[in-house]
C-alpha cells in the first residue's frame, strides 16, 4: 500500500483532519519535486500542488482505492494543461521562447540533465514515478490510466535504453 493511502481512507471515514494533514505532509514535497523535475516553474509548482489537493479532496472519498495515484494523476494533468495553455499563448503572441520543451532544473548534474533531455515525456514520467519515487507498476498504471502490462513493457524498454546509455557514458 502506498504511503499515506491508509491515512486518507481514515480521513474519508471519520473526517479527522489530522489524517488529511498526515497525507498532505507525506505527499506534498515529492509531488512538488516531481513537477519541478518535469520542467514546471517552481512558483507554479506550488500553485499546482495546492490546486491538485483541492481537486483531490472533492474526488478521493468517492473512490478511495488508490488515493496517491489519484493525486498524482490530477497534478500531472494540471501541469500538462498549464504547459499547453502557455504554448497556445506563445503561438498567438508569436513568442517562440515559450514553445520549447520544459527544461530540467539547473541544480541537477549535467548527466542527469542530459538523461532527462533524452527522454520523451512518457518515458520521463515513468522514470520519475517508478525509479525515483518508487511507485509500483500498478500505481504508475493508475496514474497514467493505462494497463499495468503496458507500464511493465514500457519500463522494461526504458531500462534497456538507460542501461545502454549509462554504459555509453562509462565508456565515453
Amino acid at each position: 500500500m502506498a504511503e499515506g493511502d491508509d491515512a486518507i481512507r481514515r480521513w474519508c471515514h471519520d473526517g479527522d483532519e489530522r489524517w488529511f494533514e498526515r497525507f498532505y505532509h507525506a505527499q506534498a514535497t515529492p509531488l512538488w519535486r516531481l513537477l519541478v523535475l518535469r520542467g514546471v516553474d517552481r512558483d507554479e509548482a506550488y500553485d499546482i500542488v495546492a490546486e491538485a489537493f483541492s481537486r483531490f479532496i472533492q474526488q478521493v472519498c468517492k473512490r478511495a482505492d488508490a488515493p496517491r495515484a489519484l493525486l498524482y494523476r490530477i497534478a500531472l494533468n494540471l501541469g500538462t494543461d498549464r504547459f499547453r495553455r502557455r504554448q497556445v499563448r506563445a503561438v498567438s503572441d508569436t513568442d517562440p521562447d515559450d514553445l520549447h520543451a520544459p527544461e530540467s532544473p539547473p541544480e541537477l548534474p549535467e548527466e542527469a540533465r542530459r538523461l532527462m533531455a533524452g527522454l520523451d515525456p512518457g518515458e520521463r514520467d515513468l522514470l520519475l514515478m517508478r525509479y525515483w519515487l518508487g511507485m509500483t507498476h500498478r500505481e504508475v498504471a493508475q496514474v497514467l490510466e493505462v494497463p499495468e502490462g503496458t507500464v511493465r513493457r514500457r519500463a522494461a524498454a526504458l531500462l534497456r535504453r538507460l542501461h545502454e546509455g549509462f554504459d555509453d557514458t562509462r565508456c565515453g
Binding site: G15, E17, F20, E21, Y24, H25, A28, T29, W32, R33, V36, L37, R42, A45, Y46, V49, A50, F53, S54, F56, I57, Q58, P105, E107, L108, P109, E111, A112, L115, L127, L128, Y131, W132, G134, R152, A156, L159, R160, L162, H163, F166
Partner: protein, 129 residues
C-alpha cells in the same frame, strides 16, 4: 525480455543518485497550500452534510405525499358496522304496521312475502333500532 531484479535495483540506485540534487520546496509555501486544501475540505464536508439532510427531507416529504394520496384514493376508514343481514325482516314478536306477522310467515316456510307489508315492517324495525 524483462530485466532481472538486480539490474533494476542497480539502475534505480543510479537514477536516485543522479536526481539527489533535485530542488526541494520551501515548507512555508507548502503550508499555505495545506491551509487552502483544509478550507476546501471543510467546505466539501459541509456541502455533503447539507446534501444528506436535503435528501432525507425530500424522502420524508415524498412519503407524506404518498400517504396523503393513498388516503384520498381509498377513502378514510368508516369504523361503523354494516347493518346485519335480514335487518329488513323483523323478528316474530314484532309486527308490521298492517298487523302481518311476517316472522310467523317465515317460520312456516311459506316462502312468500307480501313485499309491501314486509317493506313496511322493515321501516318499523329500523326506526325501532
Amino acid at each position: 525480455m524483462t530485466p532481472d531484479a538486480d539490474e533494476e535495483r542497480r539502475l534505480r540506485e543510479r537514477i536516485q543518485a543522479l536526481l539527489a540534487e533535485a530542488p526541494s520546496p520551501d515548507p512555508r509555501c507548502l503550508e499555505a497550500g495545506l491551509e487552502q486544501a483544509r478550507a476546501r475540505a471543510r467546505r466539501a464536508r459541509r456541502a455533503r452534510r447539507v446534501m444528506v439532510w436535503a435528501g432525507a427531507a425530500l424522502l420524508a416529504a415524498s412519503a407524506a405525499a404518498s400517504i396523503g394520496w393513498w388516503t384520498t384514493a381509498n377513502g378514510p376508514p368508516t369504523g361503523q358496522p354494516e347493518a346485519p343481514a335480514g335487518a329488513d325482516k323483523p323478528s316474530g314478536a314484532e309486527s308490521g304496521s298492517d298487523g302481518t306477522d311476517t316472522g310467523a310467515q317465515r317460520e312456516s316456510g311459506s316462502g312468500s312475502r307480501r313485499g309491501v307489508e314486509s317493506g313496511d315492517s322493515a321501516v318499523i324495525y329500523r326506526r325501532a333500532q
